[in-house]
């Protein structure tokens, strides 16, 4: 190494700050998604409902409080262990409505289909949607179909929107975290993301992991009815995983969150897959889990109720809301050290070795 390499005048090009085109990371649920929402959509549509930036909007029509939400599904592959794009499209919107403690009632279904898509697959997918909506107790009451030229879409995209009735007066939203609250997760995390990765043909690894895709509205409604106002917030940690959801809520509530690493439920096979792929399960997507932030005095009661439900048997308390207004999520490691669990930037990248 020569002396001149010791100087500080070393390396690195100018940063690629400005994006003239949309990148995949803009849709990852991480910082770039947040930027797009904050810089484009929020100012463009500026109103009091949107500005809460929850997974659903709480609107008042006459004397009724309604929950309203929409989500698009572009999952690949369309069929995966534990579900398919159809069941996912029903569960996802049902769960978004459930985060506010609403009773989901009606869904719409919009299909964008690539020319040449097998009819048999469409039947299977629609049948799963029928089953999923029956199980969740919602009706699909309107829809739309568009077909595009071959190559102009990847097989099939589905959009669902949903309306639910809010029958309570409680403040249940992501900006309502209070110091001392306990954080419950309703089961093992990261199943969906790992199941999808494993199902992709280009990845040559096999696992028995199934997607956790499931409707959580019965569980959340029960909680709202029994634990009521002591439930401060709920969020389904989909893209960006538990890390993104907790960061969003901590920031919106101006509090910090402290997690205990050895309390976070991760299946051994999911943990193994994450080790191999270089992923952190806290950032991997879930489709059948809810983060429930509850007043400490009611946490045990809430946990007991959640565990009575089909999709809440492995629920556990993973952390607590703490003072401090920086919106930080801190993880106490199993060894007793600590680290910050930050908002993800874009999608996680597999590590080199």
């Amino acid at each position: 190494m020569s002396d001149e390499t010791q100087s500080e005048g070393l390396t690195c090009p100018a940063p690629l700050m400005k994006y003239d085109t949309i990148q995949l990371s803009h849709g990852s649920g991480g910082l770039l998604s947040q930027e797009l929402t904050n810089n484009l959509f929020r100012p463009a549509f500026d109103n009091e409902y949107l500005s809460r930036l929850d997974d659903h909007a709480l609107v008042t029509v006459g004397s009724s409080r309604l929950s309203f939400s929409t989500d698009s599904y572009v999952v690949s592959p369309l069929f995966f262990p534990g579900g398919n794009i159809g069941s996912l499209a029903v569960h996802g919107t049902v769960n978004d409505l459930s985060t506010g403690g609403a009773r989901p009632l009606f869904l719409s279904a919009g299909y964008i289909i690539e020319e040449g898509f097998p009819m048999a697959d469409l039947w299977r997918i629609v049948d799963s949607m029928r089953e999923a909506s029956l199980k969740a107790g919602v009706k699909i009451v309107t829809g739309d179909t568009k077909v595009v030229d071959r190559g102009k879409a990847d097989k099939l995209f589905i959009n669902t929107a949903g309306i639910g009735l809010v029958e309570h007066e409680h403040e249940i939203h992501g900006g309502n975290l209070q110091p001392g609250d306990d954080i419950i997760v309703t089961g093992h995390i990261a199943d969906h993301g790992i199941a999808i990765l494993a199902a992709r043909e280009e990845l040559s690894f096999q696992t028995s992991v199934q997607s956790d895709s499931a409707p959580l509205n019965k569980l959340t409604l029960d909680l709202v009815e029994t634990v009521g106002a002591k439930i401060h917030a709920m969020r389904d940690p989909t893209r960006g995983g538990v890390a993104a959801s907790l960061n969003e809520m901590a920031a919106a509530s101006s509090v910090s969150v402290c997690l205990a690493e050895n309390q976070i439920p991760v299946r051994p096979e999911v943990q193994s897959a994450c080790e191999i792929l270089g992923f952190d399960p806290l950032y991997v997507a879930n489709e059948g889990k809810m983060l429930i932030i509850v007043d400490h005095s009611s946490a045990e009661n809430a946990l007991h109720r959640i565990r009575q439900h089909e999709y809440g048997k492995d629920a556990t308390i993973i952390g607590r809301v703490t003072e401090g207004n920086r919106g930080r999520v801190v993880l106490r490691t199993a060894l007793g050290g600590e680290r910050i669990v930050d908002m993800p930037v874009g999608q996680q990248l597999p590590r080199i070795c």
Partner: protein, 375 residues
């Protein structure tokens, strides 16, 4: 997972920490050479648990970090060509070149695909005979055998549309260069377990003797890391100079001989530029003459590309362990994982990314306050 969890056992970790505390009598500066170890140390909070006398310095062992800018630019140049399927390990996607990164090439229509192994890229070449499939072959001795196997296989099958852009680097010359630097502070090394799995540790014995450096072959789990640190502290305290293997469940003295033989056949050792550090003698691999037809650099006529690295970030100083990431004025401001100025911020193994992700730069007092409330 049992084979992993037993190496994360908090009880064993506590015992190792107590052992280290009992041994230490004065300050020591130890470098973990491998980025994977840097990540594991910070992810588990191990550096916070060590006695304050022990300073861990994060070495240049992140293959993404040290890939020179001109190779990123070459990759971008190739990936944008319409006849090419460009394949790469995931974390090279976001490394900024002079103007673009591979993500942007992809969003502009380039066919850029993430693979886990060069053999997947070779399969793509078989499946797409009308395309040129190029693999971006970066990394230390750890990933070199995979590339060597793919190239060798391509030659055996006479596959004409498979190419590799080679920017491999070797650890021993880097340790020599770091040690010879007039600014050197490193008193001992934790050697990279993965690299030694392939190469063994014979080649470090001479370096250890020549520069009086204790070295310990070390693994990546908390128990492994602490075993390595304990061994190196013991050697430092007792004045012992040697190379000791504390990752013996994986690493053999002679390494993986078939893998080494293949690497020696397919590659030859050359001088190599390291991003942020400069050229280090004998520190890289390029394709041996016999395999030159598979060299993407030659095939696409890019050999003349040579890029001067702009002088905004201090990743070179950080890679050499002379400064901590948070001592860089751009750290966490202009330079974040979202807008990386240098590769140390891009790779999850990079020292800057590890510090940023786990917010080591923030006020420790506040972090302690946040967590103690949970207990």
């Amino acid at each position: 997972m049992k084979h992993v969890t037993e190496f994360r056992n908090p009880e064993v970790v506590r015992k190792a920490l107590a052992q280290i505390k009992a041994m230490v009598t004065r300050p020591w500066v130890i470098m973990e050479i491998c980025g994977g170890q840097t990540h594991a140390i910070i992810k588990n909070g191990i550096d916070q648990l060590l006695p304050k006398e022990i300073e861990l310095v994060h070495g240049p062992g992140c293959p993404v970090c040290v890939t020179p800018l001109e190779y990123i630019d070459k990759a971008i140049c190739i990936a944008g060509r319409s006849e090419v399927i460009f394949t790469t390990y995931g974390d090279m996607m976001r490394v900024p070149g002079s103007d673009l990164d591979l993500f942007r090439v992809k969003s502009q229509g380039g066919d850029v695909r993430i693979v886990y192994s060069p053999l997947e890229a070779l399969q793509m070449a078989r499946d797409n005979p009308d395309k040129k499939v190029v693999f971006f072959s970066v990394g230390f001795e750890t990933t070199a055998p995979n590339s060597a196997m793919a190239i060798h296989q391509a030659a055996v099958e006479n596959i004409p549309n498979f190419f590799v852009l080679v920017s491999h680097v070797r650890v021993p010359p880097a340790i020599k260069a770091l040690t010879k630097s007039p600014h050197n502070r490193i008193q001992a090394y934790l050697l990279a377990g993965h690299v030694c799995t392939i190469m063994g540790w014979e080649e470090y014995v001479g370096i250890s003797e020549l520069y009086s450096l204790p070295m310990v072959v070390t693994g990546f789990e908390p128990v492994d890391l602490l075993a390595g640190i304990a061994e190196v502290v013991r050697m430092l305290e007792s004045g012992q100079v040697d190379v000791i293997n504390r990752y013996s469940r994986v690493v053999k003295k002679c390494g993986n001989q078939p893998a080494r033989a293949l690497v020696e056949r397919v590659f030859r050792i050359v001088d190599r530029k390291w991003r942020g550090i400069g050229s280090i003698s004998q520190s890289g691999y390029e394709l041996a003459e016999e395999y030159a037809p598979y060299d993407a650099d030659k095939h696409f006529g890019l050999e003349s590309i040579d890029v001067d690295e702009p002088d905004i970030c201090i990743s070179g100083v950080i890679l050499q362990g002379l400064k901590k990431p948070f001592e860089c004025p751009a750290f966490g401001k202009e330079c974040t994982p979202q807008t990386p100025l240098g590769a140390t911020m891009v790779s999850s193994e990079g020292a800057c990314a590890a510090y940023f992700s786990y917010n080591r730069h923030l006020n420790d007092q506040q972090a302690t306050q946040d967590t103690t409330q949970y207990e």
